[in-house]
Amino acid sequence: MDKIQQLLLQEVAGIHQIPEGAYSLRINGNLYGKNSSEHIQIVKKEDKPGIDIYVQPGTKNESLHIPVILSQSGLKELVYNDFHIGEDCDVTIVAGCGIHNGGTETSEHSGIHSFYLSKNAKVKYIEKHYGQGDGSGKNVMNPHTHAELGENSYMEMETAQIKGVDSTKRKTTAILSKNATLIVKEKVMTHGEQFAETEFEVELLGENSGTHVISRSVARDRSSQKFISRVKGDAKCSGHTECDAIIMDDATVIAVPEIMAVHPDASLIHEAAIGKIAGEQLVKLMTLGLTEKEAEEEIVNGFLR
């Protein structure tokens, strides 16, 4: 691993080198290394790029790292990762993709992640997207996450894309069984001419299932963002989707919330707000000695924390 690759790894997975425990590290389109642990098996797919991950029932407090690094300009890849989470598990999965594009061609990584949570399973899934490089080539990421939550299971998904991704189209779909819960916390910041679209489609199929989809985004310069969320309630359930965007400079933000109830006991709420930084927030921080620019940064950093 070279210095650039190490830096990308640090940005997306918070680690300097090969992690302990179960991991799969993909660099420039190839599997760089993988390691199964006692309770987590990682198996390379034979028919297409990607891996199958099997977490044994009852696995508690274990983590799995599956970062992807692209430092070769112009590389395009599509990877399929399937996560089979056994009953009564409690695991943390750290994914993420970092691209360094120093060339003129477009680099692209698209991860298709499917999660199958068995009864009572609990998963925390963290995914960071990061791009850099001084070349004129674009960094593109189009992830698709699909989750099927079994009875009484819980999944928390934290996604962040703060810097350097020129174009992204993220799609997340989920189907929830009885008593299952899905929490999604998304953070997006776009600069320059960047474009980011995120689409959530959650179906609350089982009784007492529930979801919270929370998106916070900041659109700067001439960038554009689109947030789409669809929550469908098929049973007695609760769904809440929230999009909160700060718009700056000449950016564009579109929020399209959609809630659909097909059961009289489905309780669904959507909230969407787009606005610039409140003037009084800037003034307050300026009375503490910050310049307007510093105040703006402080407010944006807090908002995306």
Partner: protein, 235 residues
Amino acid sequence: MLELQNISYTVGDKRILRDVNLRIEDRFVAITGPNGSGKSTLAKLVTGILTPTEGRILMDGVDITDWSVTERARSGVSFAFQQPVRFKGITVKDLISLAAGKNTNISEACNYLSEVGLCAKDYINREVNASLSGGELKRIEIAMINARGTKLSVFDEPEAGIDLWSFNNLIKVFENMYERTRGTIMIISHQERILNIADKIVVLANGAVAEYDTKERVFPKLMDVQAGCRYTKNA
């Protein structure tokens, strides 16, 4: 020392403040007067949030009229808002640290918060958002001014919304603040107990200084300074 020379402030054709002249040299100065008399406007002019239409503002002899909010803050002006601002994601600790100008540790933050009657452990990592009550926000606002410890601290109705916390404690905060900073504390207030601790009281009425004197001299006249309307006055 703060000096306001011939300060006027006009919005459209409405004169909010007219020809205000004040030399503030005492440690506690209270500003009172009826609603709409221009008290908050005066505070915003001093802190740089508003710029006077006419007149000059001097601090320690230096003309600061054209200074920005940031420049004034950095040269020693603090301002506790009447209505504290809420933020998303910014914590009490962040604000105290920004106010103190350094990353404050738990024990330092604890000092500032306990002085305003808040338990640091419960508040330090709380977001300064809508989950905090008006009274809690007011106290955090005061704690921030305390953490800054500047030579001029301006408070716009600090007592409003603080119900259970006794005024004695609030007054103690101001006294401690003075002991530490040896600066001037300017408080906009309607509360007699706050006016009582002031060295001087400024009474604003209809955008002008109606009185500026010691409380012994100002108190008896306070009842005469009612905005009222000309019909009730004549009645």
